[in-house]
């Protein structure tokens, strides 16, 4: 099985450790993952802001970069959702039947990380060790767009030493929302402040989620508040072992 990593532009540029963790995790599980260098961004920042034409070259780059792979793994629910539901919209707008067909062919091969681990590899115990108290935020796009269900929690529960604590009102949006975070910055921060409060109420040392974008937002608030709670991507926790504890 040829497996590609779709690292996402945000992880590539700002959170490379998430990409590195995903590679190490997959390699530990016996998957020889490749990073097609032609990939850039899923185009969601443009599409969700209304700039569909600007997303066209990105969608073209994606279908080209990931052609020939059996599976494309993405450490992001949001970017997985964008490929599944928005690439077709962008492709239709070009009126290029070749691109429409290429997108339709790509979509079923794309998996969010927890989907790939649980559904494709069939593992829940990934052999990780992380002796910390953790709370999990199910990001909106993982939960409601991709529908990862409880896969991330199932994976976290099998991590040695990890104590999974309940997050109050877990399913409520953190307020990131892409450009919403700056276009409606005050509302975004109001939502994020409530999320940060719930994280602190959980008593966890570490907030875990499957999207670096939401973590950047909630983590930015937790950092500003000097809360002492750090944020980590699901891949980073699952990549942690006793030999190399985070």
């Amino acid at each position: 099985m040829r497996v590609a990593l779709q690292v996402t532009c945000l992880n590539d540029a700002l959170f490379p450790d998430v990409g590195v963790a995903t590679v190490r995790l997959l390699e530990r599980l016996g998957v020889s993952v490749e990073f097609p260098a032609g990939q850039t961004c899923c185009g969601q920042p443009m599409v969700n802001s209304g700039y569909l034409d600007e997303a066209v070259p990105l969608v073209r780059a994606a279908v080209e970069a990931f052609s020939g792979f059996d599976a494309v793994v993405t450490p992001s629910g949001s970017c997985t959702g964008a490929v599944r539901h928005q690439h077709a919209v962008v492709a239709r707008r070009t009126g290029d039947p070749g691109l429409v067909a290429a997108v339709a062919e790509l979509v079923p091969r794309v998996f969010e990380l927890s989907e790939f681990l649980v559904d494709v590899l069939g593992v829940e115990d990934v052999g990780a060790s992380f002796p910390h108290s953790v709370t999990y935020h199910p990001t909106c796009h993982s939960l409601r767009v991709v529908g990862v269900g409880d896969r991330p929690e199932r994976l976290l529960r099998r991590v040695r030493g990890l104590r999974l604590l309940d997050l109050p009102q877990a399913q409520e949006c953190c307020g990131f929302g892409g450009t919403f975070a700056v276009k409606n910055a005050e509302v975004s921060v109001a939502m994020g402040s409530d999320k940060a409060r719930h994280v602190r109420e959980s008593g966890a040392e570490v907030l875990v989620a499957g999207d670096s974008s939401c973590l950047m937002h909630i983590g930015g608030l937790l950092s500003r508040q000097r809360s002492g709670v750090r944020v980590m991507h699901l891949a980073e926790v699952l990549a942690s072992t006793e030999a190399a504890a985070s």
Partner: protein, 492 residues
Amino acid sequence: MSRTFVGMPPFPDAARAALADSQLRANLARATATIRSKRAAAVGEVEAWEALREAGAAIKDATLARLDEHLLDLERALTARGATVHWARDAAEAAAIVIDVARAHGVDEVVKVKSMATQEIDLNARLAEAGIAAWETDLAELIVQLGEDLPSHILVPAIHRNRAEIRDIFRTRMAAAGRPAPQDLTDDPAQLAEAARLHLREKFLRAKVAVSGANFAVAETGTLVVVESEGNGRMCLTLPEVLVSVVGVEKVVPTYRDLEVFLQLLPRSSTGERMNPYTSMWTGVTPGDGPQEVHVVLLDSGRTRALADEVGRQVLRCIRCSACLNVCPVYERVGGHAYGSVYPGPIGAILGPLLKGVGSDEQVDSLPFASSLCGACYEVCPVKIDIPSVLVDLRAQVVDHHRGDRVPKAEAVAMKAAGWALGDARRLGVAEAVAGVGGRVLGRPSRRAAPGGRVALGRLPWLGERWTQARDLPVPPARSFRRWWSEERGRR
């Protein structure tokens, strides 16, 4: 006096102001949490809920696909049963019809059943201009009207008010509109309801003309349906001699049997009840029983414009339950007024632009962006309106509308630049290298470390302020993932 939403500021400005209102935030958080849990319980006990949603969406879609035929059927059925059918292209035409009916009976007042269509067309203000007083008889609408306020929710328009505020409004304002509230009125709900009941009863018994909307209009039989909780609607629909109902053209359903689906979906989604207390149905004129003169105004007012929108037309499935408002994290924090329309919340953010047209003004164009696209609205919608997808499509329409602008917005320039950099992996690699250098430069003076130890930036100037006003930002790393891969794995 009735206020209108004309001239409201764009969403971000209105929202910023609303966020600072701690009373509003507390009232909304409490009220939406209560309705949310009631709805969840009422929906949770219906095993075939998903099938019901599918059925509701399918009936509406099929009806909208042949709307013209169903409307003509409705007109025929209504006329055969003694009702007079009027067609109104817009708000002004609809209001003129209502005014004509009132004048024909020489009245200077009408009683009203809670109705979104009449709110949408500013009927009360238009009637007032014609010298006709319109008395709202729904408790929450009465609170809004007496307070010279604006509705902030589709189902519970005074959701932004608490009991103490309502008592004050009743004590100071009721006398000018009719029977005054007792001066020793407390904020006990039973006392507040009794004051409203006595105040309204005078109006029910005096009014000759009533104005209503309708939740559904059955084409097959010519039956109109009003679903309500308080019984004020039943009073208005049965006591006066004349009844005028303003009905959006999307309210038509083909058959009586279709109500089976919607009368299950609506109450559970809106008030979280298995069945609403009052469901009134009337079919034209029944001699000797109820209003002896019945008018129905079929209202377009942008609905055919929405119908022409391939992605957006699903908005016409909406049955005004407001489940989407109650689960919306944005609505919960800013309230309804920030949306500058009688239709607030997620549904309002798409319905307003679809009815009025993208590009009609800055306020309307700000609405599709008033969402974090979390998808909670889609999840609860009883007729499966994919609100997030419609929002994204409307955003593209707003952007496309401005593509020809002589001076492009800063955002358009930024998106073009981002699209260029992200359009090619080599360009992205260069951008990341530059950001890495920038990160080292910016990170050096910053003594801020995020939990976990990574260097973070505090307050940045200009556009950076929008992010960093309340959130730290990690500095770009020296080595992007791309570079890590080529250095650590690339040579294998």
